[in-house]
């Protein structure tokens, strides 16, 4: 069965678009809370200003970065992949400039979810003075519709 593309011109035009740049800070509170969540313990943390801190604090920082609004191409969505990358360790007390970007939008035919659309967004964290990249996070959502032909009913 042939069907048209789910990636409309409007959707495709969003690839590469960016949100507003905002300042985020690696605070003591963020480090402690992130350690509670991911390690289940605060043991071993060094909390002197400028000390290196675990990269999982990105989970908190990226929540403060406004995302580009992408119209949902299909009614249901699922997280399929995410990633954190670091050029150097994060440091306690540092302020970074962050901005989100729509990295890619593509569709997939077939498979368990039938005709689906993948939207990948990234957030880059940069040094304010030099603009050097410090870290980046990426998240890929899959949009799908179990009512469409080709989709199986045992989806997540």
């Amino acid at each position: 069965m042939s069907e048209g593309s789910l990636v409309s011109d409007e959707l495709r035009s969003l690839i590469g678009s960016t949100g507003p740049e905002v300042a985020v800070e690696v605070t003591r509170a963020v480090v402690l809370r992130a350690a509670d969540v991911f390690r289940g313990s605060r043991a071993g943390l060094t909390l002197e200003p400028g000390s290196e801190v675990p990269g999982f604090v990105l989970a908190a920082l990226e929540g403060d970065v406004p995302r580009v609004q992408v119209p949902e191409p299909l009614p249901r969505s699922l997280l399929v992949a995410n990633e954190w990358r670091f050029e150097r360790p994060l440091r306690l007390g540092e302020e970074l400039r962050a901005r989100s970007r729509v990295a890619d939008i593509r569709e997939r035919l077939g498979g368990r979810f039938g005709h689906s659309v993948y939207v990948q967004t990234e957030v880059e964290f940069r040094e304010p003075a030099s603009g050097a990249l410090v870290a980046a996070s990426s998240i890929t959502l899959m949009y799908y519709d179990l009512e469409r032909p080709g989709a199986e009913e045992d989806g997540e």
């Binding site: 809370r33 969540v37 991911f38 390690r39 989970a59 403060d64 997280l79 954190w84 670091f86």
Partner: protein, 137 residues
């Protein structure tokens, strides 16, 4: 420079307890509150038997496991998760890993790790990958 790991080394499983409290703490940390992470009824409305462990929380567990294996001998440059199936809140999971490649880049020794999150039946729910860089001795 002697590597702390060799290619093919299996890394010991690191267990995590994704309790409801921990999931709610994650939602607060990320300021992201989809109800199916903590509300059983909302999860059932999505066709799931119970609340789901957030995917980004599992990415953080991958990071935390790698940190634990490194034990202060290096740092995590990259961690990636490909989510294959859901895990339910309250069901223990473990991160398992294997050293895929040990190499030098930019004058520093690095390793690529193949990772997975497995449930209590040993089924993988996440396939992961990490790059670590060792501190100079």
């Amino acid at each position: 420079m002697t590597p702390i790991w060799r290619e093919g080394d299996e890394l010991p499983p690191v267990r995590f307890e994704p309790s409801l409290e921990r999931v709610v703490r994650y939602c607060g940390l990320s300021w992201n509150f989809p109800p199916f992470f903590y509300d059983a009824e909302a999860a059932r409305a999505h066709g799931m038997p119970g609340p789901l462990v957030p995917g980004p929380l599992k990415l953080g567990f991958l990071y935390a496991a790698v940190e634990q294996w490194l034990a202060g001998r290096g740092w995590v440059r990259q961690v990636r998760a490909a989510h294959r199936r859901p895990d339910l809140v309250g069901t223990p999971i473990a991160v398992v890993g294997r050293v895929g490649r040990v190499y030098e880049e930019g004058g520093r020794q690095r390793a690529d790790l193949e990772l997975a999150v497995v449930n209590d039946r040993g089924e993988p729910s996440v396939r992961g990958f990490a790059v670590v860089e060792f501190f100079a001795p």
